[in-house]
């Protein structure tokens, strides 16, 4: 896997600080699993967190806190839950580890050649998270973003004004960024997307798509 598109440093720092919502965390974890370079940046950011923690003025714990903790050391350790098995995104394509604890969904058609699986609903306060599957050589309706979006490619590839995105690549789009992705020929392009608001489609057909998007 050759990764050429990475998240912004500031996004990785926000991730390391634990301030991203769940949808964004899952998309970043998917990229990080195959990107040693960004894992290194996250490690640096976590070291910043460690340095800041170390420098914080301590707040006294309750007087009997240590005694309680020592008593709890006697308790048998809780066995970690085994990771659930991967489910299949498509034939021959198991989901990445970052998606294992999601309930497998069914692909729902949006337009001919475009379908999606919603993993986190848009209104639960953790961001909208969904999978998008685009048939090869398909031009997506031109759309802009009223807010921001993180996309990680899981299979296949697509092109837009920012370049070509293949497996593992991560794209950050914001409100200022309109694009019209085209999927590469060969196989379906499957992307994992975290979004914080509705997409804004342009054009008549695209506007018909808007209510279907429900993003």
């Amino acid at each position: 896997m050759r990764i050429t598109h990475h998240p912004d440093d500031s996004t990785l720092l926000a991730h390391a600080a634990g301030r991203l919502n769940r949808a964004a965390r899952v998309v970043l974890a998917t990229h990080l699993a195959s990107c040693p370079q960004c894992r290194e940046t996250v490690r640096l950011c976590e070291a910043i967190g460690g340095a800041l923690l170390e420098a914080l003025p301590p707040t006294p714990m309750a007087a009997d806190s240590l005694a309680h903790a020592l008593a709890r050391l006697e308790l048998p350790a809780v066995k970690p839950v085994n990771a659930p098995h991967p489910w299949m995104l498509a034939e021959g394509l198991p989901c990445p580890p970052s998606l294992r604890d999601f309930t497998p969904g069914r692909w729902r058609a949006m337009l001919p050649g475009i379908s999606r699986i919603q993993l986190l609903p848009p209104n639960a306060g953790e961001g909208s998270l969904y999978l998008l599957r685009i048939a090869p050589g398909k031009r997506m309706p031109k759309h802009g973003h009223t807010a921001r979006e993180l996309t990680c490619v899981l299979a296949g590839a697509y092109c837009d004004g920012l370049g070509e995105f293949g497996p593992g690549d991560l794209s950050e789009a914001d409100a200022a960024h309109d694009h019209q992705p085209v999927s590469a020929p060969g196989g379906d392009c499957i992307c994992l997307i975290a979004s914080d608001a509705k997409l804004r489609f342009e054009g008549r057909v695209a506007r018909l798509l808007q209510p279907l998007a429900g993003v």
Partner: protein, 216 residues
């Protein structure tokens, strides 16, 4: 790894006082970091309860401060701080002093606990985010004393560099780590920083990276 005494006055001071560097084989040794790493290793190897108590007394009150800054109530901060240190006991064998300082490791544990707690509040009965744990829990590397010294040295330099960032960069970095409430400048729904905040964070990271590269 002997010859260093635990320094409770430093542990309780709440800031890092200037210390005379200790030199061994040409490498400056940071007593704080090396000592904490040794304590964690004692917990892992010998289930050493007094080593655990020392880690607890140093880190639990700082984790509590961290959680209070993130908006946790006093009771929850106390409870999660204890959980974090119990995780130190449970996971001590996974700690790798070449990859992270003890403070950094404790930070990631506390951060993940806070993420889980926030998530449970939103979805009662929801499972813990076990698969989201971002710090790899690799088995400890072979004991290579020189590598370890270099790692400790680098961690110490990074620590002091973080504390001496230019004021405008330090401010946004702190805000990013310690302010959980949505902040107009720093985020919208996804939590990703915007505009000038972004560029200041980038500058801070570039500065720290340059510093680390210069040390190699």
């Amino acid at each position: 790894m002997n010859g260093f005494v635990y320094q409770p006055e430093y542990a309780l001071a709440g800031y890092a006082p200037p210390r005379a560097p200790l030199r061994r084989r040409g490498v400056t040794r940071p007593p704080g970091g090396a000592e904490f790493a040794r304590l964690v290793q004692a917990v892992a190897a010998a289930r050493d309860r007094s080593a655990f108590a020392r880690l607890y007394e140093h880190f639990a009150p700082r984790v509590k401060s961290y959680l209070l800054r993130l908006g946790a109530g006093a009771g929850q901060a106390e409870e999660l701080a204890q959980e974090a240190l119990l995780s130190v006991w449970a996971k001590a064998a996974y700690f790798d002093p070449e990859k992270a300082s003890v403070a950094t490791w404790v930070f990631t544990i506390a951060r993940n606990l806070h993420i889980d707690a926030r998530r449970r509040e939103r979805t009662p009965g929801g499972m813990a985010a076990g698969l989201e744990v971002m710090l790899e829990e690799a088995a400890p590397a072979q004991d290579a004393a020189d590598m370890l010294l270099m790692a400790l040295e680098q961690q110490e330099r990074l620590r002091s560099a973080v504390l001496t960032l230019p004021a405008d960069q330090a401010e946004v970095v702190r805000l990013c780590f310690f302010q959980d409430k949505p902040h107009a400048e720093i985020e919208r729904e996804l939590g990703i920083p915007l505009g000038t905040v972004k560029s200041r964070l980038r500058l801070a990271l570039a500065r720290l990276r340059r510093l680390l590269d210069a040390q190699i």
